[in-house]
């Protein structure tokens, strides 16, 4: 949109400029001359700027003149200069201008900005505002070119209009925002604290509700109990005397070449049912899923994946056997060799 308008106006301006240039030879330099003073004012990048318009300077093309004008406007920041070529787009002159712009950039430092079209667009207003001192020459040039129609809504006009409007608005806001922020903070902080406290309390209570569901005391038979002297358990027998009360079988048999007494937990290693000791078949047989174990507790049939577990057994100083169900001994882990898992008779 803006570019189109610019082009139209620019074209007119240029047409007039050329007409003048042809009429007054002195005018043609005048188009350049404004550039020269502008350059001299900022002092630093100026010298290359004139160079840019100069080569194509034979005021042939629009883009050239525009470039010159803009180069002046953006005298300080080298960025805007490169933009103009992109906008103008006249093939020949563009390349020239670009070359000139880069030449400037080389001195002006901010070279990379050349490629970005938006960046220069932003840079322009700043440049225009900042380098207001430089602007008059451009305006004068335009006036000189246009004659009676001073602004002609020349490219400069529409460009500048939004610029002054924007800055004051944020300034006004900037004064109010801090007050609101303070109020917000005053209101929000206690609210945030309250909600955090509520969330923490709720979370804590839920956690302890889960904990509440786990009883702190259990009514269970004692894990240590005496089962009488070893002589009560003859060789080759399985005693089911303590099975229903404490969940153990007392077995007296030979294991690994030693005659020993040990206590087997009456819990099937499949899914925890209580197998039965079948005296006739000399095996433990689980009624739930048919797992079978030899008298020594090794599994041999059914789904049970491992042998029965032993629990602790020791001979007390009083000559009585004592079972300790708080410890387990698993054959597959080699724990049956632990001397607290059996009593040698």
């Amino acid at each position: 949109m803006a570019e189109e308008k610019k082009k139209l106006t620019t074209a007119e301006i240029l047409a007039q400029a050329r007409a003048q240039a042809q009429g007054k030879t002195s005018e043609s330099p005048s188009a350049e001359t404004p550039a020269a003073p502008a350059e001299s004012a900022p002092a630093t990048p100026e010298t290359p700027a004139p160079a840019a318009p100069a080569p194509p300077s034979a005021p042939k093309s629009t883009s050239d003149i525009l470039a010159a004008a803009r180069a002046q406007a953006g005298g300080k920041p080298s960025a805007p200069a490169p933009q103009k070529p992109t906008a103008g787009g006249a093939a020949k002159s563009t390349s020239d201008i670009l070359a000139a712009a880069r030449a400037q950039a080389g001195k002006g430092a901010a070279a990379p900005a050349a490629g970005d079209s938006p960046a220069p667009a932003k840079a322009k207003p700043k440049a225009a505002v900042a380098a207001s001192g430089e602007l008059p020459p451009v305006q004068e040039m335009i006036k000189a070119v246009t004659g009676d129609k001073p602004p002609v809504a020349a490219p400069a006009g529409p460009q500048r209009m939004p610029i002054p409007q924007k800055p004051p608005v944020p300034k006004a806001k900037a004064e109010e925002v801090p007050r609101r922020n303070v109020l917000l903070a005053l209101v929000a902080t206690p609210l945030a604290l309250a909600w955090t406290l509520l969330a923490a309390t709720t979370g804590w209570f839920l956690l302890y509700t889960a904990r509440f569901m786990m009883p702190n005391y259990l009514i269970e038979p004692p894990s240590k109990f005496k089962i009488g002297p070893p002589s009560d358990y003859g060789f080759g027998t399985v005693s089911t005397k303590w099975t229903s009360q404490f969940g153990v079988w007392i077995v007296h048999t030979e294991y690994n070449g030693k005659k020993e007494i040990y206590a087997l937990a009456s819990v099937c290693t499949h899914l925890g049912c209580t197998p039965n000791w079948l005296e006739g078949e000399q095996k433990f047989k689980c009624p739930c899923h048919g797992s079978g174990f030899y008298i020594n507790g090794i599994n041999f049939e059914g789904p049970a994946p491992r042998p029965l577990e032993r629990v602790g057994l020791r001979l007390g100083v009083d000559g009585l056997l004592e079972v300790d169900k708080s410890v387990k001994f698993q054959e597959e882990l080699g724990q049956w060799n632990d001397d607290t898992s059996f009593v040698v008779v």
Partner: protein
């Protein structure tokens, strides 16, 4: 004025049923909208929507069985005490002594039937593609109801406190030992061994939470009784209401294309 008219003209009747009988289309709609129980359902459905060959009425049968279980279960609660001393005795008394003690058998067979019809309902919904959008959320609610139905079966299983019950729950709950992270024998449980403290043990894992003890005992019986009679039915009733309501909200009962 007939007796029927007299009743329908009385203030008591009108205070309950604010609108006339559904004798025309408008009143049929109004009755549906102003009745608490009926408003869960759509005002009208297409004839094909209730075709038995399409729906099998499996959801309806399941709901009917849920009502049967609720009523018979509540009646059984008057005679059943969830203690080691009395649980099994009360079951025997219902079977051998109590008039209409067959109520317990109705409850038991109804429970078996409900599990079957829930599965068949799910099967029907799957076959007819009724789980697809916009009904995908109601499918999820249905899956929750399926799980809760199975949990009702599981918790009710223990209450007779016979050998079958005790060992079935022993076996079933032993699987909870293998719960990931929260089971004492499950994968990842060792992650909760922090320093000297072992947070997931046979006395603090998921199975312990379920049983209230390290073995199936009186604490378990009490827990399962409460879960079976109060906790799960409340959740199920709520979800059923949502399930029905969503049928209406998600475009009515699905029907042949």
């Amino acid at each position: 004025m007939s007796i029927g008219e007299y009743i329908r003209e009385s203030q008591i009747w009108k205070s309950i049923f604010r609108h006339p009988a559904p004798y025309d289309r408008r009143n049929r709609i109004v009755v549906m909208l102003t009745n608490f129980f009926l408003h869960l359902h759509p005002v009208s459905i297409k004839q094909q929507g209730i075709a038995l060959s399409y729906t099998w009425c499996m959801g309806g049968i399941t709901f009917f069985l849920f009502l049967v279980e609720t009523i018979t279960g509540e009646l059984l609660m008057f005679y059943y005490r969830p203690t080691l001393e009395w649980a099994f005795q009360d079951i025997l008394a219902l079977r051998d002594v109590q008039t209409l003690g067959i109520m317990r058998e109705i409850h038991r067979w109804g429970a078996h039937a409900m599990v079957i019809t829930v599965w068949l309902h799910m099967y029907r919904v799957f076959l007819t593609g009724s789980y697809k959008p916009p009904r995908e959320f109601n499918w999820v609610v249905g899956v929750l109801l399926l799980v809760l139905t199975l949990l009702l079966s599981f918790t009710g299983y223990l209450l007779p406190w016979d050998q079958l019950a005790i060992w079935a729950i022993t076996v079933g709950s032993n699987m909870a030992r293998a719960t990931p992270f929260l089971g004492s024998e499950g994968p990842g449980a060792q992650l909760f061994n922090i320093g000297e403290y072992d947070f997931i043990t046979p006395a603090s894992d998921a199975r312990f939470l379920l049983l209230g003890a390290r073995t199936v005992g009186e604490a378990t019986l009490n827990r399962f009784y409460i879960l079976h009679c109060v906790a799960i039915p409340l959740v199920v009733a709520t979800l059923i209401a949502i399930h029905f309501w969503r049928v209406r909200k998600d475009g009515g009962i699905s029907q042949p294309l």
